[in-house]
Amino acid sequence: MHFFSQAFNYEHPWSHVTFLDRTVDPKTGVIRTERILGCKQKTPGWILALFGGSEDAFVREISFVDPATQNATITSVNLSLSQFATCFERIQYSPAPGNRTSFTQTAEVQARMQLWRSAADGLERWLVQRFEQNAHLGKLGFTDVLRTLEERLEQRQTTAA
């Protein structure tokens, strides 16, 4: 497991946000919200060719807002490609002296090595199949382009003749 603590900006804005669950604790007043965030990401072409899937990346996010203590915590973990690795991020906003707000961010990145080993055989077979399927699709696409070009050439030749 690896930890890091840093801030960065994603190149891509969240394109859609879906609420899954929102509850208000009548005793403490804490609001809990569970959401799915989705964004289009520029996945390298070879990843799509290997794993199939889509360019949509999904993240599950849980937030707690406590109006009494004015604390807010946000935790998030990736759903997409989580079979290979997870990134568990935690952000906390809390009141700080001098009428300011402190911001703390931590993240744990964990590769699922055990899953890899036990599933390696089946996964490899599956990946080879996926690759073959997608390679075939890619070839079809290119054949179409060639055919269109050929047809245009033929048309030009017939009109010229």
Partner: protein
């Protein structure tokens, strides 16, 4: 406002968002009144939780219904299920221990 996971759910999402935002603004106000007693706060939260249900409960249920299908269609249901099992997160996590910036 961001769109929903599924375009069909976007109008419901916007309706729900508007409802929540109005409620939430009022909700935070008394938190700033520091002289309120514990009993007053508890009564307030109880009342606001009920109010949330009364005002936004219906559109929330409709929206929920819509996105359940979207989650299934997008194939994220098993991933979501796994994430929920690993980290139920029903309660807020204890405050993070402040650490120096270079610590690993």
């Amino acid at each position: 406002m961001a769109d929903s996971l599924s375009p069909q759910c976007t109008p419901l999402k916007h309706e729900y968002d508007s409802c929540f935002n109005v409620w939430f603004e009022e909700y935070l106000e008394p938190a700033l009144a520091t002289n309120a007693t514990e009993a007053q706060r508890t009564a307030h939260y109880q009342r606001k939780a009920e109010e949330f249900q009364a005002k936004c409960g219906k559109v929330y249920a409709e929206y929920q219904n819509c996105i359940q299908n979207a989650v299934k269609q997008k194939g994220i249901e098993p991933l979501l299920q796994q994430a929920r099992e690993e980290h139920p997160l029903r309660e807020p996590l204890p405050p993070a221990v402040p650490s120096s910036k270079d610590s690993k």
